[in-house]
Structures are given as structure tokens and as C-alpha cells.
């Protein structure tokens, strides 16, 4: 066990010879930030352009009948969609021979699991996220309970990992279905996996994208205005159409705030 001093050094709490940047006024700092913001925005737009290219990838038909074990028994790749139009499968390393077995999954995959955001938003875009490993379902159920993870997590039984570039290393595969036909549409691995976890990161790797009107997508792709389809994660089922008040806020935020204050002043007898 590290002594306090060692642990302080590890966390850099001692004022060692780290050369820190200049301390400047708020004004100078803001100017420096604005300069960097130009690059930040360019990077963001480059990311959007890459996602637009992903949406123009050809689709690869998946003809082999893969089989997985799920909590209720045998399921097919099509079943993993849970009836939704798109599916993302992350291949996680949790099986005999992997560091941490049987108590834990691989540390990198476990860190990734901790970053998986609330799935209601992704599901609201007709997209399912599933994890897949080689460990039996009983071990997966135990691991999920221990770590507080809630994503669907299946056991691979065949060459699914090898066929989709994830037998030696982790990776995210995106699929889309047309009725009962399934197509592979994209693949992200290595450092690309680092950035996965938010609803946006998942949607940006899919064939349909975020399905928002500002996106550069091929003709006829489903799109609705940004912000308006967002909901509280516990309210998607009860509120199937966007609340008019929320539409008002997202369409005219300043006007909506003024109207809200006026309404609140009227309903309160304090004035």
C-alpha cells in the first residue's frame, strides 16, 4: 500500500517542477479560448462530415444465421434488434483467460461499460445497443448485478466475433435491418471505442445518424428537428408526441422564457 506521501506524489499534489502556463486576466484568457474555439468547431464539423460519410457506406448483407445465448435462452442476431430498426453490438472481453475472470470483465471494457449513457434516448431513435462476450449468461448476469450495468448482454456461441473483426480486440459493429434482412453498416474499434458511450457517439456510427434535419444524409432518410425529440429519460413512454411547451422553448427560447415569467407573475399573488 502506498504511503500518503507516495500517493500524493502520484496524484501530483506536491508542487513539483511542473511548468504551468501563464496566469492571465479574464480578458486575455477569453481571447486565448476564442482562438482555440475556432479549432474546436472545425473538429466538430469534421466529425459531422465523417458521420455523413458513414451514412453513405455500402451495406454488407449478413446471411449467416448467428446464434447467441440471452437471459431467456437462444436468440438470433435479428432478435438482438428487439424490434428496432438499428442495432449496435459491442464485443466486450469477459470470458476465461481474460484478466479479471471470473470476478470482472477486462478493465478497458469495464471502463467502457461505466460510460454507457442512459439507453432510453438511443432507443427513442429506433436503435438498440447490445453487448456480447463469450462468458456464459450466469456469469454475465452476476457481473451486471455486481457492477450496476443494465445494457442487454449476450453470449456469443459461434464465429460472430471473428466474422466482424472483434475476436482479438474489442469493437462496435453497427447493423440495420430491412424486415428480416440484416446488414452490417459500420465498424469502430481501437481508439474509436474510447469515444463511445454518449447517445451521440452511438447515433453517429449508425446508418441513419441522429436522424435530425441539419444532417447531411442521403435523400429520404428519416429526420426530425434537433432538440424537439429529446425527452426526460423517464418520459418517452408516457409522452409519445413532444410537449407543445417544450417545442415553444426549443423554437423560441428567449420568447418562451419571457412568456413563462409573465405567466408565473400572473399566477402568483405576490406582486
Amino acid at each position: 500500500m502506498a504511503t500518503n506521501k507516495e500517493s500524493e506524489r502520484e496524484h501530483g499534489k506536491e508542487h513539483l517542477a511542473m511548468k504551468t502556463p501563464a496566469i492571465v486576466s479574464q480578458l486575455e484568457w477569453e481571447a486565448a479560448r476564442q482562438q482555440l474555439l475556432v479549432k474546436e468547431k472545425a473538429l466538430m464539423h469534421a466529425r459531422d462530415a465523417i458521420a455523413a460519410e458513414r451514412r453513405r457506406m455500402p451495406w454488407m448483407e449478413v446471411e449467416k444465421k448467428y446464434e447467441f445465448d440471452g437471459p431467456e435462452g437462444k436468440v438470433s442476431l435479428l432478435d438482438l434488434f428487439e424490434g428496432r430498426r438499428q442495432l449496435i453490438v459491442y464485443r466486450a472481453f469477459f470470458e476465461p483467460g481474460v484478466f479479471g475472470w471470473p470476478d470482472h470483465a477486462c478493465r478497458g471494457c469495464s471502463l467502457g461499460a461505466d460510460q454507457v449513457s442512459h439507453l432510453s434516448h438511443l432507443n427513442a431513435r429506433d436503435t438498440t445497443l447490445a453487448w456480447a462476450s463469450r462468458a456464459p449468461q450466469a456469469d454475465i448476469a452476476r457481473l451486471k448485478a455486481r457492477m450496476g450495468w443494465e445494457m442487454p448482454w449476450y453470449t456469443m456461441t459461434d464465429s460472430f466475433d471473428a466474422d466482424f473483426g472483434a475476436d482479438q480486440w474489442h469493437g462496435h459493429n453497427a447493423f440495420i435491418r430491412d424486415g428480416d434482412r440484416v446488414f452490417r453498416t459500420y465498424f469502430i474499434n481501437n481508439r474509436g471505442d474510447e469515444a463511445m458511450g454518449t447517445t451521440w457517439s452511438y447515433l453517429d456510427m449508425t446508418a441513419l445518424g441522429r436522424q435530425e434535419t441539419w444532417e447531411d444524409s442521403p435523400e429520404g432518410y428519416p429526420q426530425t428537428p434537433p432538440y424537439k425529440w429529446w425527452n426526460w429519460h423517464d418520459n418517452y413512454d408516457t409522452e409519445t408526441a413532444p410537449d407543445p411547451k417544450w417545442i415553444d422553448i426549443t423554437t423560441d427560447p428567449i420568447g418562451a422564457a419571457i412568456r413563462r415569467r409573465e405567466a408565473e407573475a400572473k399566477s402568483c399573488n405576490c406582486e
Binding site: 502556463p21 479549432k39 455500402p58 451495406w59 454488407m60 461505466d114 429520404g220 426526460w232
Partner: protein, 105 residues
Amino acid sequence: MRDELGAPQIADRAVFQAELDALLVREKAHTHEGDAIAAARRRLPMVEVDPTTTLIGPQGPVTLLDAFEGRRQLIAYYFMWRSGHPAPEQCEGCTWVTTQVRELS
């Protein structure tokens, strides 16, 4: 569905992989540009802030310094909270962001 979407062509594994490899070049360049921007952030100047600025926490008033919880760095997110309103009436966008925040250990 494919006709209504005007969807991309269906390709065999070799063509799909070739397209994937081509886009991967851009993906990697993007990751490296992101690394370069993060490196530039680490070289930004700093502004001194009043550490005694008061915030109200679950146990009452604390200072900005207390919010570090003894760690060296602090990231603060401003949630557009409407005082006196229950959780379901709070900003949907900020609530969204909160559902993206997971395990902080």
C-alpha cells in the same frame, strides 16, 4: 424500406472492408487532431478565481475550493435549474446531459 430510403448499395465483404479502410484514414486523422487540440488546451493560460466563492451543497454553504473534494482539478457544469420547481419541470436539455454522466470513480 431500401427504396424509400434511397439507401446505399449492398456490397460484398471485400468492397465493404475497402470502404471501411478508406474512411478509417479520415477517422484516425480526426482522432489525432482531437489529441492536438487537447494538447493546446493544456497550454492555455489560466485565470485566478476567488476560491471562497460560495456554493450551496446538500450540507449547506461550501466554498468553490471545497467543491474540489481535495482533488487537484474540478469540472463544473452549469445546470439551468429553475428554483422552486420540481425535477420534471427542469430543463430537458440539462436533464439529457445528466443522463450521459455515469460512473465517476
